[in-house]
Amino acid sequence: MVRLEREDIGFIENYLENSDIFYADIRLEMTDHVASEIEQLMSSENTEFYETFKSYMVNNKTVLLENNKQFIRAADTSILKRLYFELIKRPTLLVFCALLFMSYKWLLTIDVENLKDYMVMIPIISITPFLIVYVCSLKIFKIPRFSGVERLGLLYLMSFQVFNLLSLFTRIYVKSEHNFYIVALLIAIIVTFSLLIIKITFKIINQYRNDYKFMKSL
């Protein structure tokens, strides 16, 4: 059985990367699949690497690119599922209730007029913690472009939009201290979500560090 050289494997990987297969986890799997197929073809047909590679790609490139798209969709689904399962856990409900109570008590000590100014900043402030966690983790662990990690951006974007919408909606209701419970609810929702997203970010990064410990940068 023919075994491909390191340079041939590098060639396949570069080709896939240049074909917009950015994420390291899907690319390494595709590289292995293509390399295994080419080794098989080279052995059975007694051909050279480049000629076999070219012929393989002519027939299979579309399938590989479609596979890449489906992989990204699976990564997004996986992240959203994690968020859902974290949301329905009992500790999440307890944290939410505690935050709701603390927020309400804190709001009673604040002037209504000042509160409106603070609320404009809520969406920006709310996404800052998990952006810091994300950037720090990437810098510290030097994680390559993994789908699960990069697609977290989608979750951050969705959260920002939801927080912004909630903030806009709540501002209409803040007219007196009697409506503080709505603001307390908003704060509790945002902080609970932020904590969950930070938890998911850590879990995903740790999972990649564990599963892909053979990669040089990990």
Partner: protein, 117 residues
């Protein structure tokens, strides 16, 4: 589409997950290409799974927590192995049972005489 290529692909399409789970249940761990080759070997080339069908199915099973992955360095490259989780083992039993019942029902419909024997 390029999902399966064989005599009658539609009949087999719905069984892809069951086939993957069954193969992983028999071996401790397998990688994508190995699964395609194993299916080809077991069915003597009658059934071929393309990467366009296999990998999305594997990733979906992984996302559902039925499979876990292990990456190892083999032959100058990294290889992603899949193995069943505890939840995956339970799902395999259930899927196989489901498939056997389906085959039995089809048997009754297609060949009633044979099913009575």
């Amino acid at each position: 589409m390029y999902i399966w290529f064989m005599a009658n692909s539609k009949l087999y399409k719905g069984s892809l997950v069951t086939i993957i789970l069954k193969l992983l249940n028999e071996s401790n761990k397998m990688y994508g290409y190995e699964i395609t080759q194993k299916v080809k070997e077991l069915t003597r080339g009658e059934l071929k799974i393309t990467e366009g069908a296999l990998y999305p199915a594997l990733h979906k099973l992984e996302a559902e927590g039925l499979l876990e992955v292990e990456v190892k360095k083999v032959d100058n490259r990294l290889r992603k192995y899949y193995k069943l989780t505890e939840k995956g083992n339970k799902e395999t039993v259930s899927k196989l049972q489901e498939l056997q019942e389906y085959i039995k029902t089809m048997q009754v419909l297609v060949n009633p005489k044979l099913s009575l024997e």
